[in-house]
């Protein structure tokens, strides 16, 4: 398949592979944390602005609202499925399984971007409001996971020092949601003309910055794997591969029901199949401090992310063309 190959050989994926390889070979190189976080903010601003400008070109239809709803429903539902799989096939504790499940209901924005590029390469079109879908899918999964983690346990008194609304604020106003949604609205208000002056920065540089960022993600994923693989059983690693496919099939069904365009369905599938490795791990440290971060981080960043950006995305695009056929 042509798209699959040119995806695999794009500089973006190659830099990811470089980072992962360097980490597995135990190179000490690293992208400074402050710099990588700055790039992440840039990427989210750019994604949000682009989505907002696209949305400003078309009116908000019922179809768009249904697509947003579909994303929310998927994010709520997927952790339940993930949790059941994990509890049945692996030996993870209730807390660990719930925490891991949260990651698979939520999304990875870098995977989303990689899919957007691949969709464009395949000659398909996608809409700006898919960025809003991505933002909306970030958090519902966390709620499901918390319910699962506390199921059948008597209500504990809150940890000393917890504050009213602390978790909600941390989760609902985390950097990626604030920047994505904020930039989306700004792009929507300012429109194509209003953002023309900032497009050399936010549009022209986007792909290049992504290369640098993925070098860093590759390093993180590789180091995570090297340090955490001992914590993973075969059943858990298997989950990191088949769970995205399960989510993809579910999302294909919804995409088919909605009658959306092939490009949009491909992105919805990708969002469903992707797993969070920035926002959700941070939330889990607050909400489920007893869960083991080595398990869920290694799985989502070390197993699922590489699977998605290499093999997964071409499959998801293929699935999308099939159901929108």
């Amino acid at each position: 398949m042509d798209v699959a190959l040119s995806t695999l050989l794009s500089p973006i994926i190659l830099f990811f592979a470089l980072g992962m390889g360097a980490a597995l070979l135990r190179s000490q190189m690293s992208v400074p944390e402050a710099f990588a976080k700055g790039l992440a903010i840039y990427l989210m601003m750019a994604i949000g602005l682009k989505g907002g400008v696209e949305m400003s070109k078309n009116p908000l239809t019922l179809d768009v609202i249904l697509m947003l709803l579909a994303g929310v429903v998927l994010s709520f539902a997927l952790p339940l499925i993930a949790y059941i799989f994990l509890r049945v096939t692996s030996k993870l504790s209730q807390t660990d399984a719930a925490a891991t499940a949260a990651h698979y209901g939520s999304i990875s924005i870098v995977t989303f971007v990689a899919a957007t590029e691949a969709v464009k390469l395949s000659g398909l079109d996608s809409s700006g409001h898919m960025v809003a879908v991505a933002a909306l899918m970030e958090t519902p999964a966390i709620i499901t996971a918390l319910i699962l983690a506390h199921r059948g346990q008597k209500r504990e008194k809150p940890v000393a020092g917890s504050e009213q609304g602390e978790l909600v604020r941390e989760v609902a106003l985390n950097a990626s949601i604030v920047v994505l949604v904020g930039a989306l609205i700004i792009g929507w208000i300012a429109g194509e003309e209003g953002t023309a002056q900032v497009s050399p920065f936010f549009v022209d540089l986007f792909q290049g910055v992504l290369c640098l960022f993925l070098l860093d993600i590759g390093l993180s994923a590789g180091r995570g794997l090297r340090q955490g693989w001992r914590q993973l059983s075969v059943a858990t690693v298997g989950f990191g591969i088949y769970m995205p496919l399960v989510s993809a099939i579910l999302a294909s069904g919804i995409g088919f029901a909605l009658g959306a365009s092939a490009g949009d369905v491909a992105l919805l599938i990708t969002l469903a199949a992707s797993a969070s490795y920035i926002a959700v791990p941070a939330a889990m440290r607050l909400a489920l401090p007893k869960a083991n971060p080595s398990v869920y981080l290694t799985l989502s960043l070390g197993v699922t992310f590489p699977f998605n950006v290499t093999i997964g995305i071409p499959i998801y695009i293929f699935l999308a063309t099939l159901v929108t056929g």
């Binding site: 940890v159 000393a160 995570g224 941070a282 401090p289 971060p293 981080l297 960043l301």
Partner: protein
Amino acid sequence: MQMHNKKRIELIIEKMAHKRACRVLEAAGMTGYTVLPAMAGYGGGNRWNRETDISASRDMVVIVSIGDEDKIAEAMLQISDILGDHIGVVSLSSVEVLRPDRF
């Protein structure tokens, strides 16, 4: 130079949870504390490193607070509660300070 006896509490705790500990220290009436970012660490057989974990979810900080023995005793109870849930280490030592009225 006249020195006065105080206690120094040193709390090694997850960055994500450090605000909880800070609130406890404030509630116990400690007059101040300082938070230092850690760069790496080891515990329970696992290593972590700030530069290698993009989610930063395993980052730790060190909170240092100097104050009166009895106020610290008050804070310790609640801190042991936080540490039941979170990862961390708390230790207490004796120090001498210059201006006792500051604490």
